[in-house]
Every structure is written in structure tokens, then in C-alpha cells.
């Protein structure tokens, strides 16, 4: 079955995220209040032919472990959506 895989990669909490900080300052300067913990990551989308959604999620985890995310600095979340 074809599924859509959404991988969200965010900087590991506790690590300085200068992009997030800059955006937080910019939002405050625009008058938005009550903002906190802005973090900037990446979204990677792909289609995958897999036996099941669970198999697709396992493959996506392997992709993250090997290439898509750096375990030193990043956390990731995977969502699988049937096509």
C-alpha cells in the first residue's frame, strides 16, 4: 500500500536554537504576546510503498536514524497517513 510519511524534525530541547530565538523576538516586536519556546525544525514528506502503516513507520524510523535526523541535536516525530 502507498502511504504518505510526514517526518517532523526539531532541535532537541535544551539546545540553543538561535533561529527560534530570532523568530520569537520578531514576533514580540510585531506585538504578539505570550510567546515562548519557539523552535525551528524541518518537515520532510515522502510517499512510501509499504506492507502496512506500522511497517512504513518502522522504515521511516530507520531513515531518521541513518540519515534524516542527527541524534546528537535533533528529535523527530513520524506520522503515517494512508493514501
Amino acid at each position: 500500500m502507498m502511504v504518505h510519511v510526514h517526518v517532523r524534525i526539531v532541535p532537541r530541547s535544551g539546545l540553543l536554537d538561535p533561529q527560534g530565538q530570532a523568530i520569537e523576538h520578531a514576533l514580540s516586536a510585531l506585538g504578539f504576546s505570550g510567546i515562548g519556546d519557539v523552535r525551528v525544525g524541518k518537515a520532510i514528506e515522502l510517499r512510501l510503498d509499504a506492507a502496512s502503516p506500522a511497517a512504513a513507520a518502522a522504515t521511516a524510523r530507520a531513515m531518521c536514524d541513518r540519515l534524516l535526523a542527527n541524534p546528537v541535536t535533533e528529535d523527530f516525530r513520524i506520522e503515517v497517513e494512508p493514501e
Binding site: 539546545l15 540553543l16 538561535p18 533561529q19 534524516l68 542527527n70 546528537v72 541535536t73
Partner: protein, 233 residues
């Protein structure tokens, strides 16, 4: 004669200066393509600066899987000299040949200027011709040079004296001495044996007196002198 391979990835841009610095140091320099699966007759390898694979995904994340990296890893595992300069350091971290990672500079800007770095040890493959504690002024040029590692790794690096180069205050300068926000002011690290080395500054860019200083040249003279590899059979 010691032969030093300099790898050219798609997007490398410091290989010419690096090759020239090796030759100036009396070594035999060999440009090796990233698609090669062996390092020919090289005794040592340098991964040069640049933007391998456009720094796509993360700096070094894709270069790590280039065919030549198997040979680089084999050389490292056999105790051979492997040196990563700037982007090369990023590749070595992504390849897990060195711990930690290099993140976007804290001030969110590309930084290109001279920095003062202190040589923290001289029993490595590329610092033997410096004195421990010697401070040299060489350039940095990077957008992602902020060294980070988890607290346990940082503690281990310090305990095992694996910090090779550290940013130190520049006399008479208002600029922050640490150009990127690196933890512990780390500019470069090495493995326990001092054979796998990575750092952000560019010694090859200041390695000829005609440029006003050759402060970086001894990285290459050290490498040429010390790279005597006993490759495991």
C-alpha cells in the same frame, strides 16, 4: 615521501589551498574524488572545507555516505591520520568518527574573520610542530561552527584531553573571542590517539609568508612528518 590525500566532494572549495599547503610542507599531495573507493597510496587524508553536497539536510550529512568515506573510515580504524577542516570537521562528526555536532552559529550569521586559538595538545597527527599553549591567529569562515555535545561527552572530552584547539580572547579586539557560541570555546577535537582530528579554523588559508603570516603551515608540516601509517593487514 608522505602522501596526503585531499578529498574533493561536490561542493568542496578549499582543496586547492589544502593541496598547496601539503606540498609546501614537503609532502606528496593527491586529489581524490569522492566517488573513489580507495585512497590510492595515501598515508593520510584531509577532508577540506567547503559545502559538500550543498550542506543539504545538515552539513556533512550526505557527504558522510559518499563512496570514499568507507576508505576514510578504514584508514581511521587502522590508526591512520584523518583530518577534517571546517566542512571536513562537520563530515567527521556526521560520520561518527568524532563525537558531537556543529550547529548554526549562535549569532545566526556566517562568520569570516581571524580568530585566536590555543593549541591544547601537540601529540596529535597535525599539531606536533606547535607548542602546547601556543596561541595562533588563523581565519574561520563558517555558518555552522557551534560545537555542541551532550554533557557526558563534553566531560569525557575534557577529561581525556581531546580538545585540540580552543578559542581564546584576542588582545585588543572588541569581537567576541568565541566566534560561534561553541561549548567550552571548542574549536577542534580529536580521538583519544590524536589520529582523527577535526577543527573549524582554516590553517590552509594562512600558510604562506606571502600572505603576511604562515601561522597555519605547521598543521601541514606536522601531518607530513607524523603520518606514517601502519595499515592493519
Amino acid at each position: 615521501m608522505t602522501c596526503v590525500a585531499v578529498i574533493r566532494f561536490p561542493g568542496s572549495n578549499c582543496e586547492a589551498e589544502t593541496l598547496a599547503a601539503v606540498v609546501r610542507a614537503g609532502g606528496d599531495a593527491l586529489l581524490v574524488d569522492y566517488r573513489d573507493t580507495h585512497l590510492h597510496h595515501a598515508d593520510a587524508v584531509i577532508l577540506p572545507g567547503g559545502f559538500a553536497y550543498g550542506d543539504y539536510l545538515r552539513s556533512g550529512a550526505i557527504a558522510r555516505f559518499a563512496p570514499v568515506m568507507q576508505a576514510v573510515k578504514a584508514l581511521a580504524d587502522a590508526g591512520g591520520a584523518v583530518v577534517g577542516i571546517c566542512n571536513g570537521f562537520q563530515v567527521l562528526c556526521e560520520a561518527r568518527l568524532l563525537p558531537g555536532a556543529l550547529q548554526r552559529n549562535a549569532q545566526q550569521r556566517f562568520v569570516s574573520r581571524p580568530v585566536d586559538v590555543r593549541i591544547e595538545r601537540n601529540d596529535t597527527v597535525c599539531t606536533a610542530d606547535y607548542d602546547v599553549g601556543e596561541v595562533i591567529r588563523i581565519p574561520v569562515a563558517h555558518g555552522e561552527g557551534r560545537y555542541v555535545a551532550d554533557p557526558a561527552t563534553l566531560t569525557a572530552l575534557e577529561a581525556e584531553h581531546r580538545v585540540l584547539l580552543r578559542y581564546v580572547p584576542v588582545a585588543g579586539s572588541d569581537l567576541p573571542h568565541n566566534p560561534n557560541g561553541s561549548l567550552h570555546d571548542i574549536a577542534g577535537i580529536c580521538n583519544a590517539a590524536g589520529t582523527v582530528v577535526g577543527f573549524m579554523p582554516h590553517p590552509e588559508r594562512l600558510a604562506d609568508r606571502v600572505l603576511g603570516s604562515d601561522a597555519g603551515q605547521r598543521f601541514f608540516s606536522s601531518l607530513v612528518r607524523s603520518a606514517r601509517v601502519e595499515v592493519a593487514a
